[in-house]
């Protein structure tokens, strides 16, 4: 099978799923916001969306292991800096081509349009040739890139492309070489061929050279070379065209004969590859913070799932500029274990931990590497979340009812292959109620046999049975005022803390000794 798409092993997957995208309406889905996936996606696509419309791909999780691995392989290849650089240079040239084509549509004067058309074709030829020349030097492993390479190889050898390129070069060169003179006197403009007249600017510069030694202001007026032409320039070019008739008729023919030069599959590749590039750029940035990413193994059995050194990608992305340290956490569920009950001090990273679990699974289903040094994840069908919302308008009773309705809806739709994430539900109920309700819900979840993360202050849930695992946010052993943001497997104890730190002037002899540097 020939090359079709760098995103889909079988392009039909995409077409079949197009309807599903609309039906699920993930963009509006609650879990997307709860897991801060919207923040991650919007932040990485914001500069690219308008040009490439890659957003829909992010709302289409794959539900087939082979499809996921197809993308993982492509991504691994793209992590090779040589390939990455090659592809980004390629997409930059394609971008420039689109800008030029856009100009051609907008401009009025014939030779002006034709001039920019030449630039667009040049960008395209450069882009294609660059890829075909350099991609053969790169060791590729993914089926996606291998078949793309084959396709490009054949395309470059096609008669159409060869002739396009050689005619382009000839016309470009002839246009660049021609030189003419304009003589302006009052309102008269004369155009003639250049006849080696002396450069007068140079003469003046030479005379005054000795007074221009130091760095002074540049008085040169910076003229942006216009892309468009005005009527005077058009008049001048018309005169130039009369002075050099052969060159300009060649240009005219080239323009008329090659209007649809752009190949469909190359065009599609240019767009789809952005899906990988934007995520890879994010990863590179986050790795600078000392955090790791890995390609997760995807499993459709519930034997075990784990992620070592995971973290909340949205949080890391935000913290990048604040220089704050991101704490990593691990999770492991094996054999019968299904449910992680997270408890411990507030502001200790519990919600972040729960979010991370969901994020990692979703990102994996897009075919991306995920936060962590080693991971094995579950091929889920759907993710459901229920995070506490601060809605003060509703009465307590109204809120509880609302909570229960939403949970009922989730448990109704969830299958044994779903993932459910619950964060601090029933907080506004009496403790007795909360314990009672929570236990009831927990029983239902156990019955469903699905993977679940539940952040709660109700420590009683933590030791419910063999399916539940207790994890706790922790504090520094030396100073209980300092939170570590580490969530570890531990029995729940339910203690809360508060902190205060005092500061002093560092002016003792020992301090000053250290503060004043020796020369």
């Amino acid at each position: 099978m020939g090359f079709e798409s760098i995103l889909f092993r079988d392009l039909n997957t995409y077409f079949i799923n197009e309807d599903k995208i609309k039906e699920d309406n993930l963009e509006e889905n609650e879990f997307f916001v709860d897991l801060n996936l919207d923040q991650i996606i919007n932040s990485i696509i914001k500069d690219k969306q308008e040009e490439y419309n890659i957003k829909p791909f992010f709302y289409l999780p794959l539900n087939n292991i082979e499809d996921i691995y197809y993308r993982q392989e492509v991504m691994k290849d793209l992590e090779n800096p040589k390939l990455y650089e090659l592809i980004t240079t390629f997409t930059e040239k394609m971008h420039s081509m689109r800008l030029h084509l856009h100009l051609v549509e907008r401009l009025d004067y014939k030779y002006n349009k034709q001039g920019w058309f030449l630039e667009a074709v040049k960008d395209y030829c450069d882009a294609v040739l660059l890829i075909s020349k350099n991609i053969s030097l790169i060791n590729l492993k993914s089926n996606g890139f291998l078949s793309f390479r084959k396709y490009i190889d054949n395309y470059v050898k096609s008669d159409y492309f060869i002739s396009l390129k050689s005619r382009l070069d000839e016309i470009k060169k002839e246009l660049l070489d021609l030189e003419y003179c304009i003589i302006i006197k009052g309102n008269r403009v004369r155009v003639q061929k250049y006849n080696y007249e002396i450069n007068y600017s140079k003469e003046i510069e030479k005379t005054f050279e000795k007074f221009r030694q130091q760095q002074v202001k540049d008085y040169k007026f910076v003229y942006t070379t216009n892309t468009g032409m005005n009527h005077i320039e058009a008049n001048i070019i018309d005169c130039v065209a009369k002075l050099f008739p052969d060159i300009f008729s060649k240009l005219d023919n080239f323009y008329n004969e090659n209007y649809n030069f752009l190949d469909d599959k190359i065009k599609r590749f240019d767009c789809e590859i952005q899906f990988y590039i934007v995520y890879l750029d994010l990863i590179k940035k986050i790795r600078k913070m000392g955090l790791q990413f890995c390609y997760p193994e995807i499993s459709d059995s519930k034997k075990e799932i784990y992620d070592i050194d995971g973290f909340d990608l949205a949080l890391a992305n935000k913290s990048f500029y604040e220089n704050s340290k991101i704490v990593t956490n691990d999770f492991l569920l094996e054999n019968k274990e299904r449910i992680i009950i997270v408890s411990g001090p507030n502001q200790g990273g519990k919600t972040t931990f729960a979010r991370t679990f969901g994020q990692i699974h979703y990102l994996a289903s897009l075919g991306f590497p995920v936060p962590g040094s080693k991971a094995k994840l579950f091929l889920y069908d759907k993710i459901f979340t229920h995070f506490e919302k601060e809605e003060s308008i509703k009465t307590l009773r109204g809120k509880l009812q609302d909570d229960l309705l939403r949970i009922q809806l989730i448990l109704d739709k969830a299958t044994p292959n779903s993932i459910v994430i619950l964060n601090e539900i029933f907080t506004s109920t009496s403790l007795q109620d909360a314990i009672f309700l929570s236990k009831k819900i927990l029983e239902k979840i156990i019955m469903l046999d699905l993977y679940c993360i539940w952040v709660t202050f109700i420590v009683e849930l933590a030791s419910y049975g063999s399916q539940t695992v207790s994890m706790v946010s922790t504090v520094s052993p030396e100073n209980p005022e300092i939170r570590t943001f580490k969530i570890i497997r531990k029995e729940a104890d339910g203690i809360a803390y508060a902190i205060s730190i005092a500061k002093k002037y560092k002016l003792t002899k020992n301090f000053i000794d250290k503060r004043i540097k020796k020369e």
């Binding site: 401009l107 030779y111 002006n112 034709q114 001039g115 630039e119 660049l176 021609l178 003419y180 003179c181 304009i182 003589i183 302006i184 006197k185 009052g186 309102n187 008269r188 403009v189 004369r190 003639q192 007249e197 002396i198 450069n199 007068y200 600017s201 003046i204 510069e205 005054f208 050279e209 007074f211 221009r212 030694q213 130091q214 002074v216 202001k217 540049d218 008085y219 040169k220 007026f221 003229y223 468009g228 032409m229 005005n230 009527h231 005077i232 001048i236 070019i237 005169c239 130039v240 009369k242 002075l243 002037y505 560092k506 002016l507 002899k509 000053i512 503060r515 004043i516 020796k518 020369e519």
Partner: protein, 500 residues
């Protein structure tokens, strides 16, 4: 073409920020009095002397370089004032006639303005050149000798002829001839101003020579946008030529500006000199030595700020404190301690700007920075306690101070009780002198002074405000053992002993 009257190889940089401790220095050493005496109401001179004095020099060579120039100025005050006046006048004319100052945005306008400026500058430079030719034999300093040489070489009479020639050429009587190429999109660009071929061939030859093919079009006189485009093409053509001329004129202008700025400092010094002589006081050029030595010796050093304020002769001091890193000055209030401390700070900072000092003799090592930590009695915000405020200022100093600096403490850390204050001061002083920082500490805390005195460290010196046997004060500071604050003891004696 550089002025180089402040530094051997660079211009005075007025953009460089003042050291972080400048505000305190100005206040604690009362430098405003000195700057005002230098500026005599001229705002620019005030600002420049302020910058120069506070941005200390750290090398003996540059200090001596300025000292030599200043000596020439003191010998030839009217010559220096004449040259300075011409620079002021030139800049004034440029400003009032808006010459070049409002360079038009377009190359043709820039070209015109630059040529006008060139005329002015050449005329003024000629005047300066004439003054120099008459007086140069009276100058000995390296700085002035080099400057005069440059002016004579760069501004010859031929230069003026060249400027005039170009002005005429650039009127473009035969139209502007510009060559061009095509750039991306077939837009005309790469406009280069060309010289019309010289018409040396005879008329017959010209008539029969086949004219190159050309196409002509005219712009409707009412086509405003068309003529705008046309003049833009013209402008693109003269762009480089205009830039060359404008840059040259700016360069000469900046020479004038630099000359005026650097002379401002010396004019300020001359003003101060005259003021001091009128008061019947003395000055001398100090002897700076490298920072690695602990040198501080002076004879008849007086507090210049105080002298300028009281406008009369005042007490002066002699000290030989070579090899000392710590000077602790004790004694009762009103004994001349603060004046003594300030006179040293002022002399040190004036020396490190290349100026003369208010002493018969002054020798000191160069300090990597001059810091003051004075007890502030009034301006303390309510929210932070006095000691807090003192410590936080001290902490800022520690952030900025380097080894081989000088720091003047005046009654510091006395906002708490003596035991605590002394303990803090001991720690700070010990740490500072270990880093080879010269510490001058005026204090009435005997706990502090006595502790250092008993340690018998070689590099410490103890000074007291002189008191005659009859108890009268001379306001002189002399070497001597720190004394318990006599106020309290006196009072105690007076009350308790008398009672007994």
């Amino acid at each position: 073409m550089k002025v180089f009257l402040m530094f051997k190889n660079k211009n005075l940089d007025l953009e460089s920020p003042l050291p972080s401790n400048s505000k305190d220095l100005i206040k604690d050493l009362e430098l405003k009095t000195i700057f005002s005496a230098m500026a005599l109401g001229n705002k620019e001179i005030y600002e420049i002397t302020n910058k120069v004095v506070l941005n200390s020099l750290f090398d003996v060579e540059t200090i001596k370089y300025r000292q030599e120039i200043l000596k020439d100025c003191i010998k030839n005050p009217s010559v220096i004032k004449n040259i300075y006046d011409i620079t002021v006048q030139t800049i004034e004319i440029k400003r009032t006639h808006h010459l070049g100052g409002v360079f038009s945005n377009y190359p043709s306008g820039i070209l015109y303005s630059a040529l006008q400026l060139m005329y002015l500058f050449v005329e003024m430079l000629k005047k300066i050149r004439d003054i120099i030719e008459q007086n140069e034999k009276n100058f000995e300093s390296e700085g002035f000798k080099n400057l005069f040489k440059i002016l004579k070489v760069e501004f010859s009479n031929e230069y003026f002829t060249v400027v005039r020639h170009h002005l005429k050429e650039l009127e473009f009587k035969n139209g502007v001839l510009i060559s061009a190429k095509l750039t991306d999109g077939n837009v005309p660009n790469n406009f280069i101003l060309r010289k019309h071929p010289e018409k040396k061939e005879n008329i017959v030859k010209r008539v029969f020579k086949k004219r190159a093919p050309s196409y002509t079009f005219y712009i409707d006189p009412r086509d405003e946008s068309g003529s705008r485009v046309l003049s833009e093409i013209e402008n693109k053509g003269v762009n480089l030529a205009a830039n060359a001329l404008a840059q040259s004129s700016e360069h000469i202008y900046s020479f004038f500006t630099n000359l005026r700025q650097e002379l401002s400092f010396y004019i300020g010094c001359l003003n101060l000199y005259q003021n001091i002589i009128n008061l019947g006081l003395h000055i001398s050029f100090p002897e700076p030595v490298g920072s690695a030595n602990s040198i501080l010796s002076f004879q008849s050093l007086y507090d210049l700020s105080l002298a300028l304020t009281v406008k009369s002769n005042i007490v002066s001091n002699d000290i030989f404190a070579d090899g000392k890193d710590l000077l602790i000055i004790t004694g009762a209030n009103q004994g001349g301690k603060s004046t003594f401390l300030r006179s040293i700070g002022i002399a040190q900072i004036l020396m490190q700007s290349g100026m003369f000092v208010p002493a018969v003799f002054f020798k000191s090592n160069i300090c990597n920075g001059i810091f003051t930590h004075y007890r502030r009695r009034e301006d303390i915000a309510m929210k932070s306690g006095k000691l807090d405020e003192e410590l936080s200022r001290m902490s800022d100093i520690v952030d900025n101070i380097k080894p081989y600096s000088m720091i003047l403490f005046n009654e510091s850390f006395s906002s708490t009780n003596e035991r605590e204050g002394s303990e803090i001061a001991k720690q700070i002083i010990s740490a500072l002198i270990e880093k080879k920082i010269k510490v001058l500490f005026v204090t009435h805390m005997y706990e502090l002074a006595g502790w250092f005195y008993k340690k018998e460290i070689r590099n410490a010196m103890f000074l007291v405000a002189e008191r005659l046997n009859d108890g009268r004060r001379t306001f002189k500071v002399i070497e001597g053992e720190p004394l318990q604050t006599s106020y309290g003891k006196d009072l105690y004696n007076k009350i308790f002993l008398q009672l007994r």
